[in-house]
Assembly symmetry: none
Homo-oligomer: 281 residues x 2
């Protein structure tokens, strides 16, 4: 399979990459970009694709320890053949003795995401999506790190409908924002771990003014939770040694999928945004 399961040859190329001269790097890029099919063509067309001369390719394979291009090709072919065979028994759960730090971290992310996606219920997502597409205006807000998720939601959602903004950071600007918030508006708040008192206050005030509140957090007893109409709680145990922004982004994308589904004409809008980007850029 393409990059999902790379063989040792692709790894060898990847690892050696940074130590290679420019021309040979170009070859490696072509090789990995269309792996393994680029390696099945002739050395000359390979070199042409990389815009270098054939000898440069020859030198690459020599440097990496193969006995010429034919040798390299043979290795690629047998690896592909072998990988094809083993695709059936791809239920190998890794299992190798001592997983490295990275493997541990990767596993944490994998299972954490799985838990995150499993814990959000579909009716809630549907309701949130409808709310976001049906509201008069949408504001997103987040804590020190979660604000990146808030920003992400704002940007993507703005591609689907008008009237989406970030809640500004400074108190005065927040106050000016709050003045106009009313019953037809929706606030999406991201609040995690240490929780932001400012976010809780903002959410509480917005709710008092009749706005709808969607809260993405890590616990049902988070400070702003009482003021939320819809609450998406990510499992806390998913947290690794580092803040798991991955999960926040993931559920945000889930919400966005729902929003896109609820907006039939969104493709046109996205096209127009793109055209305008070009015009203004």
């Amino acid at each position: 399979m393409r990059p999902v399961a790379e063989g040792p040859i692709a790894e060898r190329l990847t690892e050696a990459y940074s130590a290679l001269p420019e021309g040979e790097r170009a070859i490696v890029r072509v090789l990995l970009d269309d792996y393994p099919y680029a390696a099945l063509e002739s050395l000359r067309s390979l070199a042409a694709r990389a815009s270098v001369s054939p000898p440069t390719a020859t030198r690459l394979f020599a440097r990496l320890g193969w006995d010429g291009y034919a040798d390299f090709q043979k290795a690629i072919r047998s690896e592909a053949r072998e990988e094809d065979r083993s695709r059936l028994r791809q239920f190998v759960s890794g299992g190798s003795a001592a997983p490295s730090t990275f493997e541990q971290a990767a596993d944490t992310l994998r299972s954490g995401l799985s838990g995150t996606l499993g814990s959000v219920s579909e009716p809630v997502l549907t309701a949130v999506a409808e709310l976001l597409m049906g509201s008069g205006a949408v504001w997103t807000i987040g804590g020190p790190l979660s604000e990146l998720a808030a920003e992400y939601l704002a940007r993507q959602l703005a591609g689907l409908r008008p009237g989406v903004s970030r809640v500004p950071g400074p108190p005065q600007a927040r106050a000016r924002t709050m003045v106009d918030i009313g019953p037809r508006h929706t606030i999406v708040a991201y609040d995690f771990r240490r929780y932001s008192a400012a976010t809780a206050r903002f959410v509480a005030e917005a709710r008092k003014r009749g706005a709808h509140v969607v809260l993405v957090t890590d616990a049902w007893d988070a400070p702003p939770a009482p003021h939320a109409d819809h609450l998406i709680a990510l499992p806390r145990e998913a947290a690794g040694p580092i803040a798991p922004l991955t999960y926040e982004i993931a559920v945000t994308e889930l919400v966005l999928v729902g929003c896109a589904g609820a907006a039939p004409g969104s493709a046109d809008r996205l096209d127009e945004v793109e055209a305008l980007t070009h015009t203004l850029g």
Copy 2:
């Protein structure tokens, strides 16, 4: 029938088989027995495996309508490439009966993340982590959406070491930034899909000044790729209907795990940051 899914080429061979003379049948048998790998070797070795002469093979391909062996090989290669792609697509989009939109999206995210985490090689992560912790100064930069990942890396990395900044957006500010960039500095660039010409230019110039460049992208032939010392390529096919920021964040967190591991005293620094946050807030 070793291959799970045979393409039309294999079918063509099978159907024509009975109408073929003995020698050409032998060729077809070899072809189908080790499909499609036998077709990737030379015509001569193919003929040898079938215990016939090379011209017999040539005649087979002419008879079946291809314009020579090279033409046949090209067809085989592109078919294999296409089949590979569609296999991944099917793998990504899931196949169970009628899953809801959200379940589909969730599966996409799950398997996409799995693919992403599987495709990044550990030595590269290690090298990047060491680079990020050992450099004089680190700058992060990203495109319209990827900049969120760049921002995330900058914020988290700043908790582990001093001298981490975002590259500013406006050209003049970028120019002022560039002036001071030199050999002991490192640039981390995120560049995806539509690719940002500005990012590519910045990276190219930085590299010219001797800075190290780490590029996180979705293809080995991305525009800034030629200027990167370390390249982390996320599988392109993993992309769903929406931009997969989840994956970018995930590999960023993987890198951060490596950085944290390379900095023993980072806990103290984080504590101090927290205390200062309280003091200044």
